[in-house]
Amino acid sequence: MSAVNTAESESMPSAEATQQEAVLEVRDLSVVYDLDTKAVDHVDFELAPGETLGLAGESGSGKSTLALGLCRLLRPPAVITSGSVIYRGSRVAPGGVDLLELSSRELRKLRWREISIVFQSAMNALNPVLRIRDQLGDVLDAHLHLRRGERHDRLNTLLDLVGIPRERLRSYPHELSGGMRQRVMIAMALAADPEVVIMDEPTTALDVVVQREILGQIVELQNRLNFAILFITHDLSLLLETADRIAVMYAGKLVEVGSAEQIHNRPAHPYTQGLLGSFPSVHGARKELAGIPGTPPDLRSLPPGCPFVPRCNHATEKCRGIDMRMNPVPGSDPSHLSACPFVTFEMAKANTPKVKAATSNGPT
């Protein structure tokens, strides 16, 4: 970590340094659309080997732009304006490589082999005129150079891995259900045995029952193959269950990072607190829901300082001058970071929510 540490020591909060060396380290990453819309604004995080990091945010918060930026899949008018993405897999040179500085040829070797990505819409991500066998085989041919027999075995193993019958190799994407297509995408992402898998809303388009099955399968595969996951979703309730650590994003900036337990029990940033009070749950006792007043931010005209100010219960004049730097939350573990220097978990509990809950109608 030393090379990066000296270069970016200022933006690197020492408290976040994990015991294990991170397999993916994102420092000060910024992505800009049309030169003035900051979709991702100075984002720092790291992903430990075998870890699941959840990235939660609303639509327009920049979470998908961040994922595409990591893999350098962004198209104009999006431009990466600053930062580094250091990948330190076991198969690359010690010290890691900066994905943002590779040539496109070097990058092509890394994609799928080291870092793969699963998109939300499997129907659009799969080629409709190719059989599943050919699409999976493409990944193998490009990266693994297997002999014919080995290739055949590998294809079968991959389908077994995600629980799809082997005869489905002959199918076209339209012959599969939504859940099966998403499983094929996962199989494809795992085909070349990568160390990092980015999942961009992998289950959002699916029914809850199927979503559950696929999540269970992802967790099981991760336990077996030990890859790290960056799990991107708008559904914080899902992340609390699946992720080891959670990063919450708002208007292109990270606002809070912590373990699932810290985020659930002691949310420090007002936005996280609002999100946690926003979704109803079928499990447990009925709770008072609060919601977040106002509308999601417009990235083209953000207020100075904290972008959450217009919707925040705790906002004061001081909030307009802060630099959104992530700092350890007082009274919590040093790995728990928040961008709000004023609000604590205890303050939020004392404050009454502004939006009345839609619970008056309950048969209690």
């Binding site: 609303e58 639509s59 259900s177 859940g179 099966m180 029914d207 809850v208 029952v209 199927v210 979503q211 559950r212 099955e213 999540l215 269970g216 967790v219 708008h234 559904d235 914080l236 309730s237 899902l238 609390l240 269950e241 699946t242 992720a243 080891d244 373990s259 699932a260 337990e261 985020i263 659930h264 609002g274 999100l275 946690l276 926003s278 979704f279 109803p280 749950s281 079928v282 499990h283 447990g284 009925r286 829901l289 609060a290 919601g291 977040i292 007043p293 509308t295 999601p296 939006v355 009345k356 809950a357 839609a358 619970t359 008056s360 109608n361 309950g362 048969p363 209690t364």
Partner: protein, 361 residues
């Protein structure tokens, strides 16, 4: 109270809030499918009976393809039922016929899932709202209409009103657009509001506000609301009564809190178990798995037996041979399952005790 429901002996929890307004009497909808020479009939909806009561919310919950949207479209008069009938204030209506459509629409209005598609993008908000005001309220004169438009827009908490009336849909956020759609539905001064997934396209942080607004309007205008959703958790908080649909049929019905906290039907149990549990942080993902989903196949008219049987862990020969009717579980609850004694033993046991108690007193 509908005949079908009364015969099942189930009292709707929503009935406690007000008189029956709109009623579906064993509605069914078949769609013809063709695969080359082969023809099939898909019964997208079969024998669905439900009542919408004044000032009450009834939720219709199910996965995609379960027929819940088809039910709401039939109730809105946009789809003609193959079997069954619709009754408004106890009188049978045929909203798809030419003369009855507009008077029916004055009573029954709908909100759609996608506020980006449901508003005409070349017209301003003022146009979208002025049409129903003229057609259904028969207001004349610029000033009267303008005053009504302002009142409507303020009613859905879009202020300042004049500013929003002059905007095009693309200038509004998703939440604001859905508010305009709600205002448009209210412009007809309806008594029934059919909301088909009204918040599922919105961001998590603003869903609650829109649901809250709907709830406020419900109590203020004494609206009978049908809330169609795939999210059983929101039904728990928002609706008096929850009906669960699977492959075109209602498999369970009852007060929302009871249905979500003590589901009786194996499918409802699967649905509840599959919902994310935020309190189970960084824990084990409980396997809630059961077979591959065969959606279209299981709703074909040729299917015999319980449609959930292929996925049901409790299925036995009887389930595969004969479709179970909605059986009463308690005073307000019913479930369509032959194996309730295994699926929900506590529930049946308690009902038995309640009955004996009732006989004694």
């Amino acid at each position: 109270m509908s005949e079908q429901l009364a015969s099942a002996g189930v009292i709707s929890a929503a009935a406690a809030r007000g008189p029956l307004v709109l009623e579906a009497r064993s509605l069914g909808k078949d769609f013809k499918l063709s695969h080359g020479w082969h023809r099939d009939i898909l019964s997208a909806v079969r024998g669905v009976s439900l009542g919408l009561y004044q000032s009450a919310v009834v939720a219709l919950v199910g996965e995609s393809g379960s027929g819940k949207s088809t039910v709401s479209r039939m109730l809105a008069g946009q789809e003609r039922p193959t079997t069954g009938e619709i009754a408004l204030d106890g009188e049978t209506v045929q909203p798809w016929t030419h003369g009855q459509f507009r008077p029916y629409k004055s009573n029954v209005q709908m909100i759609f899932q996608d506020p980006f598609a449901s508003l005409n993008s070349v017209h301003k908000v003022r146009y979208a709202l002025a049409r129903p005001v003229r057609l259904h309220q028969h207001l004349k004169g610029h000033n009267a209409i303008e005053a009504e438009l302002e009142r409507l827009v303020e009613r859905v908490r879009l202020t300042p009103a004049q500013q929003f009336l002059a905007k095009y849909p693309h200038e509004l956020s998703g939440g604001q657009r859905q508010r305009v759609a709600i205002a448009r539905a209210l412009a007809a001064q309806p008594r029934v509001l059919l909301a088909d997934e009204p918040v599922s396209m919105l961001d998590v942080s603003i869903r609650l506000e829109v649901l809250d607004l709907l709830d406020e309007l419900r109590s203020q205008f004494q609206l009978a609301v049908l809330y169609v959703t795939h999210d059983i958790a929101s039904a728990r908080y928002f609706a008096d009564d929850t009906l669960v649909m699977y492959a075109g049929e209602i498999v369970e019905r009852g007060p929302s809190e009871d249905v979500t906290q003590q589901p009786a039907h194996p499918y409802t149990q699967l649905l509840v178990a599959s919902a994310p549990d935020p309190d189970n942080f960084a824990g084990e993902i409980r396997p809630a798995s059961s077979g591959e989903v065969r959606r279209a196949g299981s709703a074909l008219s040729t299917t015999v037996g319980c449609r959930f049987a292929p996925r049901c862990p409790l299925a036995e020969d009887r389930c595969r041979a004969q479709a179970p009717p909605l059986l009463q579980v308690s005073a307000q609850r019913a479930a369509a399952c032959w194996r309730l004694d295994v699926a929900a033993p506590d529930l049946l046991h308690r009902t038995q005790e309640e009955r004996e108690e009732a006989i004694k007193t």
